[in-house]
């Protein structure tokens, strides 16, 4: 089919040939080499971010000592838990895409996505004080409205903690099960502690047929578990740490909204991490623009899905006009957090929509990374506008039929700002440090990518032949 009968020499069309292939051993050597050493700038950033993370943890502890008895002051921490869950929990989902859609472009991206699993540690740290402060299901003899109709009093506390820890562990297992061959590469191509680490963690990987088959099975299994646990945790965080703290807020779509905006943030985080590692580790040879193009389309679709979910919920409240519909709209949109709401709407949807709609943008990297940053800022504002007012409702009002007194705007204190900055820094520094431990692109998946996609000449034109194994 692919004809080579006539040599090149025809007039060039406006098409360029696909990127050339790289030999497998070069891939292994070069990618393993990226883990070694770090530039001065990298080290400086790592120190700064590390210091900010520690400052955040200290602020969290001080806040707990100071305000541990007043739940109305914990909205920003709740927003951070939700934000970090979205970013660190959503990102690894990108690495599941090839299993589902058999897409080739995603193979070089999977590692960087699954590294975010480790950033789940930041989410767990933030959750610890919050669990201690979350009111039990029954207070003063009355039970608040939750999804735990007849469950024990501390069910939300228990299940959320368990879910989040499980998510962290499953994420790490997902990462590790896909990283085995790369630890073997490090064992074979690296030196010093990295080689020893590779040797220990590769667990005798040599790449037999059975090993590969087990590897694929493990990735599929942990990927499925990861997805299910992620949806479950999103459900718990959004209901128990958000909705059920507000009397009369009954929004069935909210858990889905929370999950989908989490995926949106996850994809945005992956784009950012991919952009920086491609640029500063000189990985242009391996991360083709194709990956950005596909991630851009995904991000664009998720951006539209956000506004759809938002509007679906909003219009029902707006039309409903019952007392609790009005109170809910007042609390979450028109009332104390109107600026955060407008910011979220503009930055989660309107601006990224206008950026990502252009084919030219999605074919490049610069505007894509700007759009991704904007989405993350928008998500933070959106989480603030939902969780902060929810936590501002005093616990004694929890048994009302609907909210009769809308709480005032709760502005962040210095502690809150430190906690927010620290949480974000912690995610960044964890991802940065992980790139020193393992190649930021999966060696075997880049090799597989090259094996399955071959640039060909199709009669006179250029094309790529992508194999689709079962």
């Amino acid at each position: 089919m692919a004809s080579e009968t006539v040599a090149a020499g025809h007039e060039a069309t406006d098409h360029h040939a696909p990127p050339p292939q790289v030999a497998a051993e070069v891939i292994a050597r070069e990618l393993v080499a990226t883990t070694i050493g770090a530039s001065g700038r990298f080290k400086a950033w790592a120190w700064i971010l590390g210091a900010l993370s520690i400052a955040g943890i200290v602020a969290l502890i001080l806040k707990f000592i100071d305000q541990g008895d007043d739940s109305t002051k914990w909205g920003y921490v709740a927003a951070m838990v939700s934000f970090l869950l979205s970013v660190a929990g959503g990102a690894p989902m990108v690495s599941m895409a090839p299993v589902v859609a058999k897409a080739n472009w995603v193979r070089p991206v999977t590692r960087i996505a699954s590294i975010f699993s480790f950033a789940g540690i930041a989410t767990v740290i933030m959750l610890i004080p919050l669990v201690a402060i979350l009111p039990p299901l029954v207070t003063e003899g009355a039970r608040r409205r939750t999804v735990w109709y007849i469950a024990p009093d501390y069910s939300p506390h228990f299940w959320t903690t368990l879910g989040l820890v499980l998510l962290l562990l499953t994420g790490i297992m997902l990462f590790y099960s896909a990283a085995l061959p790369d630890f073997a590469s490090m064992r074979d191509h690296s030196t010093g502690w990295r080689q020893r680490l590779g040797k220990r963690l590769a667990r005798g990987w040599v790449g037999t047929d059975v090993q590969w088959r087990t590897l694929r099975m493990r990735i599929g299994m942990f990927g499925t578990f990861y997805f299910l646990i992620l949806v479950f945790v999103n459900f718990l965080i959004s209901t128990d740490f958000g909705q059920s703290l507000v009397p009369g807020w009954r929004d069935a779509i909210f858990p889905m909204y929370h999950t989908v905006s989490g995926f949106q943030a996850g994809v945005a985080a992956v784009v950012i991490a991919l952009y920086f590692s491609r640029k500063y580790m000189k990985l242009e040879k391996y991360v083709h623009l194709d990956a950005f193009w596909s991630l851009g389309r995904l991000l664009f679709a998720l951006t539209l899905l956000w506004i759809y979910f938002f509007y679906s919920s909003f219009i029902v409240f707006w039309y409903g006009r019952s007392a609790n519909d009005i109170a809910t709209l007042e609390l979450l949109i028109k009332g104390p957090m109107i600026y955060a709401f407008i910011g979220g709407l503009v930055l989660m949807w309107f601006v990224p929509w206008w950026i990502l709609i252009w084919n030219k943008v999605r074919r490049g990297t610069g505007a894509m990374v700007v759009g991704s940053f904007i989405i993350l800022i928008g998500l933070l504002l959106d989480r603030i506008r939902t969780f902060v007012p929810a936590w501002s409702v005093p616990p004694e009002r929890i048994h009302e039929k609907w909210l009769t007194v809308i709480p005032d705007t709760y502005w962040p204190t210095v502690f809150d700002v430190l906690i927010i900055v620290g949480g974000i820094s912690m995610v960044a520094v964890i991802v940065m440090l992980m790139t020193r431990v393992i190649p930021v692109l999966s060696v075997w998946q880049v090799q597989e990518f090259n094996l399955l996609a071959k640039p060909i000449k199709y009669i006179k034109g250029h094309a790529t032949l992508v194999a689709k194994p079962d």
């Binding site: 360029h16 009954r250 069935a252 909210f254 889905m256 679906s312 039309y319 399955l452 689709k468």
Partner: protein, 459 residues
């Protein structure tokens, strides 16, 4: 999975145009029989218009019954077309090719059918025009755009117009093909309809780029249509079980579930009736069933959320409604049937590859899904109205009358009738897509293994 098979283009033409170039024996008797049922249905509709809605089982407080359920059902089926042809086109799923046309067609005809139901349900259909159209300048009466009953026809009209145009654009190359294969008046007809199609690179490029662009435009419309249909219910805060924020995506994903299942049913029929074994193959059913497992499970998740948050408020009327829906006869019987047919029977079966590639089993399971999805709509719409509420002094259990059942049966005959009529003049499987897939697929040798591969254009 995608076994590549070389098919000669002459053979492809002959086989896929067999509906137009030589009429199968079963065609005429089937069309005549369906035509009779359609006539009976139309007669019954006319009787109902003449006598009034008293001939139906609708009575206070259940005003929305079988007609509205069937309306929602057909709007749901219409989501097959864009799901298959737009989403799968955008994600470059190779297996979509043989089914796109039939799916789009199902969209157009089921929308046409769906529109009939609210129309006749209004009792005096001729009065609907000025509810919807801003034309009554003389009296200064204009539609109330705050009502979802106006948004509905606008959305469905948009979807219908868009789908029809989409269908036509994708039909152009095949009309050119038919023009080349026919003589006489048919040739003249296809010449005009194909607009002078030749198949030069410019025209093909427009097919590809235009197809993707139209898909991207149709997709948001597709989502909006069933969302707006769901708001017919969801914005009414007075009826328990309706006022839920999840309704829009819940209806959309349910529609995809039933629509894609309807495509499976139709594909099996097409394979059997026109003997297209070479084109509609078990691997296509396999791929659709995998898609359906995901869609159905997603839909189940939404069902779970809907139910959870209905009970979440712990309001007595809402709980009473759910109790009635799930535990009181006859609703509980319907509920169990609904759950079994929409999910519990088909989805576990599809987990086995043997079932997914067995066309007869796929046919029957896909029909089960649509029984279940019809019941789902019925259970959403009717119990909320039928529940005994304070201050309502008359209530009767709603029992659809024979008139309603006849019109219900008419709708199925009507859609099939239209499809068969269409198949006499236009190919149900897009020939050029079929041939394109021959051009764009290849096998590569990786070591000793022969792996199916797809040619992707360099960008």
């Amino acid at each position: 999975m995608q076994q590549r098979r070389e098919l000669d283009q002459v053979y492809t033409n002959r086989k896929l145009l067999n509906g137009q170039l030589d009429t199968p024996k079963w065609w005429l008797p089937t069309v005549v029989t369906l035509g009779l049922i359609v006539m009976i249905g139309i007669a019954v509709i006319l009787v109902m218009v003449n006598k009034g809605l008293g001939v139906t089982g609708l009575a206070r407080p259940v005003y929305w019954g079988l007609f509205i359920t069937t309306f929602v059902f057909w709007v749901g089926i219409s989501h097959a077309g864009i799901m298959i042809s737009a989403i799968l086109r955008l994600t470059q799923a190779e297996w979509r090719r043989p089914v796109t046309r039939a799916a789009e067609l199902l969209t157009v005809f089921s929308l046409l059918t769906a529109l009939v139901f609210p129309l006749i349900h209004a009792g005096r259909p001729w009065r609907i025009a000025y509810w919807i159209m801003p034309y009554d300048v003389a009296r200064g009466i204009y539609p109330n755009i705050r009502s979802p009953l106006i948004m509905d026809p606008v959305a469905i009209g948009t979807y219908l117009t868009g789908s029809t145009l989409f269908l036509y654009i994708a039909l152009l190359p095949d009309l050119g093909n038919l023009r080349d294969r026919t003589t006489g008046w048919r040739n003249a007809m296809y010449t005009v309809l194909s607009l002078g199609w030749r198949g030069n690179p410019r025209q093909w490029k427009m097919q590809t780029v235009g197809g993707i662009l139209l898909s991207a435009l149709m997709l948001p419309i597709f989502v909006s249509v069933h969302s707006i249909v769901s708001w017919d219910f969801a914005i009414a805060s007075a009826v328990e079980g309706w006022h839920s924020t999840i309704f829009a995506p819940y209806f959309v994903i349910g529609a995809v579930h039933s629509g894609v299942s309807a495509v499976v049913t139709m594909m099996a029929l097409m394979r059997w009736l026109w003997k297209w074994d070479d084109f509609i193959r078990p691997e296509h059913f396999d791929a659709l069933a995998r898609l359906l497992i995901v869609v159905a499970t997603g839909w189940l998740g939404f069902t779970f959320l809907e139910l959870t948050f209905a009970l979440y408020g712990q309001d007595a009327p809402e709980i009473a409604l759910r109790e009635m829906q799930m535990f009181q006869w006859p609703w509980n019987g319907l509920f169990i049937l609904f759950f079994l047919t929409a999910y519990a029977i088909p989805v576990p079966m599809w987990l086995f590859k043997r079932v997914r590639t067995n066309i007869a089993l796929m046919f029957w399971t896909s029909i089960l899904v649509n029984i279940g999805m019809w019941l789902e709509r019925f259970l959403i719409i009717v119990p909320g109205l039928a529940r005994r509420t304070p201050f309502v002094y008359t209530w009767e259990a709603y029992r659809p009358s024979p008139v309603e059942w006849t019109i219900f049966i008419w709708s199925f005959a009507w859609v099939t009738f239209l499809m068969l009529l269409f198949s006499k003049f236009f190919p149900l499987v897009p020939l050029f897509e079929q041939k394109e897939s021959q051009v764009f697929t290849d096998d590569v040798m990786i070591g000793r293994a022969k792996v199916p591969a797809i040619v992707r254009e360099a960008d």
